[in-house]
């Protein structure tokens, strides 16, 4: 391999690395929505950039979706095993669908 080609290659690597890091830094989280479903019906669609607390009525009782700093969790739920709240905070990097079986409620990302 010629010296000029190595220079071009290293330059490309540096350029792509810089572009990748800056794009990760600058791109704001937007248009990401969390959908709450109760028995196949969309009950609630929440923008994760806006903090808030939303009450949802499920089949067993009521539960609360808390959105804070682009993260979300289920708290204050009425159900026997509390599995949905034991999952804790979820965000887009560590995404996990939260499902509460007694309430027949699921909290997932909107896919579009």
């Amino acid at each position: 391999m010629k010296k000029k080609e190595i220079v071009i290659l290293v330059g490309m690597m540096v350029l792509v690395g810089i572009l990748y890091l800056t794009s990760r830094y600058f791109i704001q989280i937007s248009n990401i929505y969390v959908v709450v479903k109760h028995k196949d019906d969309d009950v609630l669609t929440v923008d994760i950039t806006k903090d808030g607390e939303y009450w949802i009525s499920g089949s067993y009782g009521r539960l609360m979706l808390e959105v804070k700093d682009s993260k979300w969790r289920i708290t204050n739920e009425d159900c026997p095993n509390h599995i949905c709240s034991s999952i804790g905070w979820v965000n887009t990097d560590s995404y996990f669908p939260i499902i509460c079986l007694p309430n027949e409620v699921s909290v997932t990302l909107k896919d579009d």
Partner: protein
Amino acid sequence: MKNNTKKMAYVTMFSAMAILLNIIESTFIPPVSFGIRFGIANIISLVTIQFFGYKEMIVVNVLRILIGNLLKGLIFGSTFWISTCGVVLSSIALILLKKINSSILFSSIISSIMHSIGQIVMVMFFYQQFAVITYLPILFFTSIPTGVLTGFIAQQVLHRIKLRV
């Protein structure tokens, strides 16, 4: 006439090897992770363009795509178009790099980068999933070692062919 026949025989053998490598790779060598593949069929394109020229490489690549996918049973499916776009872009890159007389390793790396770019572009338009472009940097950095590997093998193959012919 004799020279022409010899050339045809060589191109046919290269095409057969490219098809075989294509099928072996997609059947027996699993993707490492994130769907990264070595692209060993690209070795044959590199050898052909160095040994004959760009026309023969186009013939070999077209035969490889068509017959390889026909044998795998994936012809004119979504994966066929995705791989076709990748191969077309990498062939264009190889032809341009051959014109400026660059080394085999460098053209191998650039063609493997262009291959992943072509595939990503085609996936973007095929599935309307524009978020896959965020996957491009990962593919870029992994296609450099795989390009070095295929380029090194192509260099060795060319060295041995030129000793015998």
